[in-house]
Structure formats: structure tokens, C-alpha cells
């Protein structure tokens, strides 16, 4: 079971308005740098529940989805611990 968790994200805006997330700050303060954004498309998260722009991000060698929701917040699909 996975759930939705809103996270703090630093993003860069280019002069022509393109937005790229740079790093995620987890709730305990740990910082995860996004090495590369593989793709960005509109998608629904059926696991966590929500719709938005889905950034497919490479974080320390593995692939993760980062969603920019319509309510202007970022979320990830987190595993239930």
C-alpha cells in the first residue's frame, strides 16, 4: 500500500518559464538531489491518489515519480512503513 506525501521541493524556473525540480527535502530534513529529470507529462497517480504533472526523476541511481499537483503542491508516492 502506498500513500500520498507532500514534500518540500526546490525548483528552478528558466527564463522561458520551464520548471525543473532540483532537490526534495524530506520531512526529517534529509535532502535528496534530483540528478536528472527523465520526462515530464500529465499523469494520474492511482496509487497515491491525485493528478498533476509527473516528473520522472533519477535520485541516486533509481527512478522516482514526483508529482506537481493542481493545488500547486508537490507530492511523492511513499511506501507505508
Amino acid at each position: 500500500m502506498e500513500y500520498k506525501i507532500y514534500v518540500r521541493v526546490a525548483a528552478e524556473f528558466t527564463a522561458d518559464g520551464k520548471m525543473t525540480p532540483l532537490w526534495i527535502t524530506w520531512k526529517d530534513g534529509r535532502k535528496y538531489v534530483i540528478d536528472r529529470v527523465r520526462s515530464c507529462e500529465r499523469a494520474a497517480s492511482r496509487k497515491a491518489g491525485g493528478v498533476g504533472l509527473r516528473y520522472t526523476c533519477m535520485i541516486s541511481g533509481s527512478e522516482h515519480y514526483l508529482f506537481y499537483e493542481e493545488n500547486y503542491r508537490w507530492f511523492v508516492e511513499a511506501k507505508m512503513e
Binding site: 500529465r42 499523469a43 494520474a44 492511482r46 491518489g49 491525485g50 493528478v51
Partner: protein, 437 residues
Amino acid sequence: MERTILHSDMNSCYASIELLYHPELRGHPLAVGGDPEARHGIVLAKDQLAKKAGVKTGMALWQARQACPGITFVHPRMDLYLRFSRMAHEIYSDYTDLQEPFGIDECWLDITDSCSIKGDGKAVAEEIRSRMKRELGITVSIGVSWNKIFAKLGSDYKKPDAVTQITKENYRTIVWPLPAGDLLYVGRATQKKLAKFGILTIGELAQADIDFLQRVFGKMGAVLSVFANGLDQTPVSLENTEAPIKSIGNSTTTPRDLTCDRDAAIILTLLAESVSARLRENGFACRVVEVSVRDNGLYSFTRQRKLQMPTDITGEIADAAISLFRESYGWQNPIRSLGVRASDLTDPLTPFQLDLFLDQDRRDRLHMADMSVDSIRRRFGFYSIQRGIMFYDRALSKLNAKDDNTVHPHGYMERGNRTGADGAKADESGYATAGRR
């Protein structure tokens, strides 16, 4: 040239969206329902599981619980559904600018001109279906045909998450065996009347004699025959165009049953405020005021009255509604819901005949006062300024009819009858082709 028309229908729209946002509820029966406290306690939408258990749209919440004991109710979130509707239209607009919404969750698309680039109707429909699932997380069923009526029947034919193509080759086997009641404009009454003449399916309707249908149903008889034969010519309207407004109305189910004239006056005044504010917003004046009444035995009626002068003044509309109500209702039963509608709209700048015995200066001042109230409400909120009558019963008057009700029902012919069945004309053009085939 033959048109290619799609009709896309989001499957149990509200329930699917709620399930998307509440993944933990997936696998349990769910219904989206109103607020039983405010007595809007009916099922608006249900998911597949609840449907299987026999829950129907329009059931009271307690009936739904009886039919399906494990059911979960969630409150409707209209803003969210409207957002999804908008996102769906963004997807549709990648294929055509001829898209006409029919309610919040249905839409017709005319993709005739983009078929050369995007592929045939079926291919485009499949692409839209998979994009909706991936990008919005909800499923749609799509009908593909050469006219709007059959496209709509196609989207109802197989659900959920499916594409049905109705062509000139297969419509006799797909559409014709369906019950006549599935056709647009065949409601309960028409269906009963048709059954009396032994017309039970769409096919039987299509093959019925047109003169006979016209004799029984009047103009609509020709229209129904056109629909059943797939000869409907109604075009898909350009996106973001609205049919001209013909009337403006608001109605509400009240928080408690109304039992006296004063209760009714509070609600009617409230509704008149909303209706007149919307008239002023759109630059109209009305010449006819209509009230609709439904009592707690669900008996309902409407009455209307022509006004002496066109107006957009709240007080005049409220007075007309209240006196109309008093004359037409004898309090046989407590009242459950009321509505006020303004119609026969004119531009307030059109010259009109003044009345010697009516103080037009005073009317102009009332109009200015209403405009001031509108602008105060725009700046400081709806409740910042209220009429004295509202203080008789705060529970009743806490309603904000204007901002709380924003979804409008649509009629298939709100832009006029464009089916190609214009009474006599249909006999020559439409039916000549029907005969040839």
C-alpha cells in the same frame, strides 16, 4: 461527406474521481451524495460495486444504505469535478475545436477534419480513451458514429473503458434492437405512448410511418424518426460557445420544510436576489417571472406571470414571485423546494413604454441601489449586506443561491432544432434518403 463524431462519457464521473483521491476506498462500494443535514440527501453518483448492489442515482441515502449496507458516502466536491471536466476538454482539444459538452461529464467531438492526420474515428477514440486513463486516472466510454445521436448510444453501449463504433453497416444490429427509451427525447411518457402502438425498440421506431408519428407526437414525431434512422444533422458546436441565454433561474431544496407565507417569502426573496443579480451581470431585463413549487409529498407545479414592465430590480422580481406564489398555493402541504425564474429577456437599454402612474425615477434609484449591493457583495462577500427579511430565520436565509449553484443542465436543442427534421421539410429531404437506402 460523412462526418466522424465521437461521444465521450466519463464512467460514473464523480465516483471515479473520488476513488482516485481516496485510493484506500477502492474495492468498497462508494456513493457520492449530498448533505443529509441540509436535506440534499440523495445519491448523485455511485461506483461499479454499489451499482451492482442495486444503488441507483437519485436514491435517498438511507435507501442506498438499505440496498448496500457496506456503502461509504462521500460529500460531493463540485470544484474538483469541474477541474477534471476542464482537463478532459484540454485533451479533446488536441483533436478538434468542434467539441460540445453535454453536462459536466459528457462531450461530443466532431473529428471529421482531423482524421487525415490522427487516423480514423476508432483510432482517435482509442487514443483518447487511453490518454484519459493515463493522464486523468479515470475511464471513459466512447461512441463513434456519423451522427451525434448514434455516437451517444455508442458510448452507452459498452461501459466502462470501451469504444463502440456504430457504422452504416452495423447500426441495424447494434442500435435497432435497443429499447426506444434509450433514445434522446424518449422519456417515460413517450415510451409509454410508443408501447401502446407496439413500438418497443429503436428499430421499430425507425420503421414506423413518419406521418403516423407526426400525427401522434406532433413535430417531435419527425425528430424521433430522424434520430432512430441516424439522419440527425445537428452539428457539433464550436468549443467555448454558449447557446444564447433564454432565461435565468435558481431553485433550492430548503434546509427545513416551509410552513407559512413568511418562510416562503424569505426563500423567494433570496432566489430573486440571485436571479436579478445574474440578470444585471449579463445585462438583461426580464418580462416574465415564474415560480416553481414542490411540496413534501413531491407534488410540484410552476406558475408564471407577465410583468407590466421589463425589470432587473430585485424588489420587483421578488414581489412578483411572492404574489404569484400566494395566489397559486393554498398550503395543502409544507413545501420542500422553491424556484424562481426570469424569462422573456430583453436588453435593458431597449426603449419601453413608460407608465403615467409609475414612478420611473424611483425605479431607476432602485436599480442603482441593487447595483451598489452587487458591488458591495463582490468586494466584501455575499453576507456583508442583507435584506431585513433574512433576519426572521437565519437558518433558512444562510443560503447563497448565486454562488452555490453553477452547473446548468443542457438541452439537445437549446440552439434550435438543427436535426434536419423541420416538419414538412423532413418529408422531402430526410425521408427521401431514408427510402433510398
